[in-house]
């Protein structure tokens, strides 16, 4: 044993009551648990779907029933769809004024800091509670630019109905995988965003998803269209209180980035540790367009999350910056996919992961280059930090290149916190715990600096919460 090695000690987890508060308000309506055509029809009726959407849902259900579970990735043995309630309508309408939102729901979002963030730094906010959006608002000056930010249900039947129908689940069809099919059958809530050509939305829009009901699922759909030479920063956050039964999140995000447009999509995922997070996100980027993903994954019992970018137009580019923190009882399988489908496209994937207390972090990626995609560049970098030998860190990247005029690089590192770095900080007066927290925060810094300040602060707080659970 080296001179400065320490005995491992354990301290109680820090209080997470901000995230773990459970709402007691009875829902207005919920379907039975399980998944049948009658349940899907009931959801569609509750939501006053247009006829095409009911047909869509039922076809998606058929697809779901025919598809097998994936033969790779984390175990989904603990997820029994027969025990999941797929639709829970809270006792609230959608409001655009927080004072109109029922007190208990409003207080939940107040404690999560959403109204405050809206006042301080957001152009618009959508807040979803269980299966429905309870608050949606956009600043008048943003609306005046022609920006549309509304809930999906309104978008389905309003002036943008045709646009929505043309884009809904075209990028992520129900046939993509079993949980995309599930989403197609029972989706509810989410946001529609439309940014007209040439409009720069200089302040972010944010959607926050709160799943309160025990044993329920949340299946929100986010559809964003950023037209030619426009730009937008969209932030999503999520959380849920912890129960001793499984909850399921199978949302879907579809992003259409037109020629010369730029979209930054930031996510801080903080689901409770009984959640199965099987989310699907995909972006289609046209000529000279850019998609930037910033992703922090801290919650869920089991997570499968691989935002995919299809670089369809010449010179399109993608950047993905992500961090994953897998603690006790968690298996977070995260990463990114990029398809270079046009010449002179470029991508950069940079991820960090931390595993502790038996947590399991898997980095999974794919970089594909189509035969017609000459002049492409891609670099993938993955660093994994393990804080103890109870945990696991695995990297499973794949590169599939079908053109010789490319420049593709990949690197990955796995290791522990440098003992020399800890020794140095302790020699400067820090405790071992503080030294390790500082090093881990520094490890995460390239990601946190990409977030707006409030969210960087939240991410750093989450790191401190996780790190304070153990020393070692």
């Amino acid at each position: 044993m080296r001179a400065f090695e320490q005995q491992k000690t354990y301290v109680e987890d820090v209080d997470r009551s901000m995230y773990d508060q459970k709402g007691t308000m009875q829902p207005a309506y919920e379907v039975q648990s399980g998944l049948t055509p009658d349940i899907v029809r009931a959801i569609s009726k509750e939501k006053n779907d247009p006829p095409w959407m009911l047909d869509f849902r039922l076809k998606a259900l058929e697809t779901y029933n025919q598809m097998p579970l994936p033969g790779w990735g984390p175990s989904l043995d603990g997820l029994d769809i027969d025990n999941i309630v797929t639709y829970v309508r809270p006792n609230s309408r959608m409001e655009n004024n927080w004072e109109q939102v029922p007190e208990e729901i409003k207080n939940t979002f107040e404690k999560l800091g959403i109204p405050e963030a809206e006042r301080a730094s957001l152009a618009g906010v959508g807040a979803q509670y269980d299966s429905e959006v309870v608050y949606h608002n956009v600043r008048a000056e943003v609306e005046a630019q022609g920006v549309v930010y509304t809930d999906m249900e309104s978008a389905l039947t309003g002036p943008y109905a045709q646009l929505v129908q043309e884009h809904f689940m075209r990028l992520v069809p129900p046939t993509d995988h079993k949980f995309a099919a599930l989403h197609g059958a029972v989706w509810s809530g989410g946001s529609f965003v439309y940014v007209p050509a040439g409009v720069n939305v200089s302040i972010p829009l944010q959607s926050y998803f709160r799943l309160n009901a025990k044993g329920a699922g949340q299946f929100e759909h986010t559809l964003i269209i950023v037209e030619k030479n426009a730009s937008l920063h969209f932030i999503e956050g999520c959380s849920a209180p912890k129960y001793n039964v499984a909850n399921l999140h199978a949302g879907c995000v579809e992003l259409f980035v037109a020629e010369g447009a730029r979209l930054r999509y930031s996510t801080i995922e903080n689901w409770s540790k009984n959640m199965y997070n099987l989310n699907t996100k995909r972006a289609l980027v046209q000529q000279d367009g850019a998609i930037e993903w910033v992703s922090g994954s801290f919650g869920s019992h089991t997570g499968c999350l691989y935002p995919m970018s299809i670089l369809k137009g010449e010179n399109a580019r993608m950047e993905f910056t992500g961090i994953t923190f897998a603690g006790e009882g968690q298996h977070l399988d995260t990463g990114a996919k990029v398809a270079h489908a046009a010449p002179h496209t470029s991508s950069r994937i940079s991820t960090k992961s931390i595993s502790k207390s038996g947590g399991r972090s898997t980095f999974r990626s794919s970089v594909t280059v189509a035969p017609s995609a000459h002049g492409c560049k891609s670099s993938v970098s993955c660093e994994s930090l393990m804080l103890d030998s109870l945990s696991r860190a695995d990297t499973v990247p794949v590169m599939d290149v079908q053109n010789d005029d490319v420049d593709i690089g990949h690197e990955a590192k796995i290791g522990r916190i440098s003992e020399q770095a800890i020794f140095y900080l302790m020699s400067r007066g820090l405790t071992e715990d503080d030294a390790k927290t500082m090093i881990v925060s520094g490890f995460a810094e390239p990601i946190s600096k990409e977030l707006p300040l409030e969210y960087a602060v939240e991410m750093n707080n989450l790191i401190r919460l996780e790190m304070s659970g153990s020393i070692g």
Binding site: M399, A412, K413
Partner: protein, 359 residues
């Protein structure tokens, strides 16, 4: 004979099916089994032949998987069970040269190398076609490297373009043992190779080098796994390749740190030069880690010859073909320069030049 093998070179941790890298399959006609044509070396006194594989050999898995191993077991027509005495350090390398012809179209060899404590051995296996008829090499080599031993195994696959090659190696390395495996894959229409090394003893080391060249419609498929079980084990996995024509290649390289392998270090690197827009390269470098106190790194670079370098050489009067040959030789040289003995290096260089001339 029609042969169907469905599970070859299986990736230790599967990923998305649509990428087509989780495993390989082979279905096709293979030459009939006849006697193998072998030029075997004289064995020094310290190297003897065993009557049966040692019990430990039965516990060694090889990189290409059980289905290939079963095929080899059922069709063996060659192979050696070599025992290297404790402390033995034979002065010369042992070269086994198999020549494949129309009359001797198949070599299915099952070889075991048991290197006793503190012994050191260099073994070269050459599989070369002498005519254009279809040939088969299917080989399993299992290496038991006891404490302090060093085993250098070089496998040269020089089959013609209508042949099939399966080259599977398994290694069990004990305390402070070192195993160096170099596989040079320059031929065959279907070239499969793999190794699985278990670093079971403290301080053991595995060096795994692969050189491959794909042209025409060749299909290359490789799977290398190093499992660090004991503490203070080290491994280095290097691959250098070049793809021409409409060849396709899948390379899987896995470093697996099992809990208990504290203070172990594993590195993996693959560099690929692409010379054709129709060639397809798939690379899957995995690191699996259940032990905190390790260092694992991997890297891959994929692309064509740097344009600036190419321009410079052209201004010096070099033809495009010469430039390609030089760049490929430079890409391969770190691995080929480490081949034991100048004669072997020259043989490989000549064969490489011949292959390049046909690309």
């Amino acid at each position: 004979m029609q042969t169907n093998l469905q599970h070859i070179n299986t990736l230790p941790m599967p990923t998305w099916r649509w990428l087509g890298v989780n495993e390989a399959a082979f279905s096709g006609q293979l030459p009939e089994m006849k006697e193998a044509s072998l030029q075997a070396p004289s064995l020094p006194q310290s190297v003897t032949l065993l009557n049966a594989p040692p019990t430990a050999a039965g516990t060694i898995a090889t990189g290409m998987g059980q289905e290939v191993e079963s095929f080899i077991e059922a069709n063996t027509n060659a192979g050696q069970l070599l025992h290297i005495a404790p402390g033995a350090v034979p002065a010369t390398q042992l070269v086994y040269r198999y020549t494949l012809t129309q009359n001797n179209p198949s070599v299915v060899d099952d070889t075991v190398i048991l290197a006793e404590k503190n012994s050191k051995i260099t073994l070269v296996q050459v599989f070369a076609s002498q005519d254009a008829s279809p040939h088969l090499h299917a080989g399993r080599t299992r290496i038991i490297a006891q404490e302090g031993s060093e085993v250098y195994l070089v496998q040269l696959q020089l089959l013609n373009g209508s042949s099939t090659a399966f080259c599977s190696v398994g290694v069990q390395a004990h305390k402070n043992a070192k195993v160096h495996l170099t596989q040079v894959e320059l031929g065959a229409q279907h070239s499969f190779a793999g190794s699985e090394a278990t670093l079971a003893g403290q301080g053991s080391h595995m060096e795994n080098n692969t050189v491959y060249l794909g042209g025409g419609a060749q299909q290359l498929d490789y799977n290398y796994i190093t499992r660090h079980i004991a503490p203070e084990t080290t491994s280095n996995m290097q691959a250098a390749g070049a793809l021409f024509g409409s060849s396709g290649k899948i390379y899987r390289g896995t470093i697996d740190f099992v809990s208990g392998a504290a203070r172990s270090v594993g590195h993996q690197q693959e560099n690929i030069l692409l010379f054709s827009p129709k060639a397809r390269n798939r690379t899957t470098p995995l690191i699996l880690c259940g032990e905190e106190n390790v260092e694992g790194q991997h890297a891959a670079t994929i692309g064509r010859v740097d344009e600036a370098k190419q321009f410079y050489m052209q201004t010096r009067g070099l033809s495009e073909d010469t430039i390609k040959r030089l760049m490929v030789e430079a890409q391969f040289s770190p691995i080929l320069a480490a081949l034991p003995g100048e004669a072997l290096q020259n043989e490989v260089a000549q064969r490489l030049a011949q292959q390049m001339a046909e690309m």
